[in-house]
């Protein structure tokens, strides 16, 4: 069966420090990968998505970047965190075949920038 792992689960970082959140998917190949962010009490905002290695699309201009160095690895990064980067970050994956593909989410990472 397919699984998705995301870490770290909780992170407290000072303003101006770097960020690296990592996500890996197991049990499938060539998945579509996503990073979402959720502010407290709000809906989920799509940040980045990837349909293949090295192929990253950004949905909103921001202080973050994403990379996909391997087929089932998706990394969210920042060189210098801002207070506004605080939130709940979710990695997700879906199949890449034709037709409808359900998106499955990881457990999320809480980032607090202080």
């Amino acid at each position: 069966s397919q699984t998705i792992h995301q870490w770290p689960a909780t992170l407290v970082q000072p303003v101006g420090s770097p960020l690296s959140l990592e996500c890996t998917v197991e049990g499938t190949s060539n998945p579509n990968l996503y990073w979402y962010r959720q502010a407290a009490g709000r809906g989920l905002q799509l940040l980045f998505y990837s349909v293949g290695i090295g192929q990253i699309s950004s949905e909103v201009p921001q202080n973050l970047s994403a990379s996909r160095p391997q087929d089932r690895q998706f990394i969210l990064s920042s060189k210098k965190l801002l207070l506004s980067d605080s939130g709940f970050y979710l990695c997700a994956w879906s199949g890449s075949g034709q037709g409808i593909n359900t998106i499955y989410f990881g457990e999320g990472s809480w980032l607090t920038v202080v």
Partner: protein
């Protein structure tokens, strides 16, 4: 992407049936309707997905009228553990890629 509209919140009591309706007036021919459940500090969990008429699984039913401009998630006999946020999403199903954009969802509160 089709825009969805849901009630912001709903209240219910244990044992009751809860119906959450979502409007998606500009749904396209190839769009599917998917519902997710999210508990605090967890990732959304897939509940049910459908294209038309009625779909039922072990946790919920999804009713979709013929014009597909709305859909209703039905949770039978809710319990306290069903307190969560429920998201209705419309996903383009013609290719293998879906760029799901979540709205604010419906906060369901189940009381004893």
């Amino acid at each position: 992407l089709a825009k969805t509209t849901q009630p912001i919140s709903m209240d219910s009591y244990e044992g009751q049936e809860v119906n959450i309706t979502c409007s998606h007036n500009n749904i396209a021919t190839n769009d599917y309707i998917t519902w997710y459940q999210q508990f605090p500090s967890q990732g959304p969990r897939f509940i049910i997905q459908g294209y038309k008429t009625k779909v039922t699984n072990e946790v919920a039913s999804l009713f979709i009228p013929a014009d597909r401009k709305s859909s209703t998630l039905s949770l039978p006999r809710v319990s306290l553990s069903d307190t969560a946020v429920y998201y209705c999403l419309v996903a383009y199903g013609d290719t293998g890629f879906q760029k799901l954009v979540f709205g604010t969802g419906t906060r369901l509160l189940v009381s004893p």
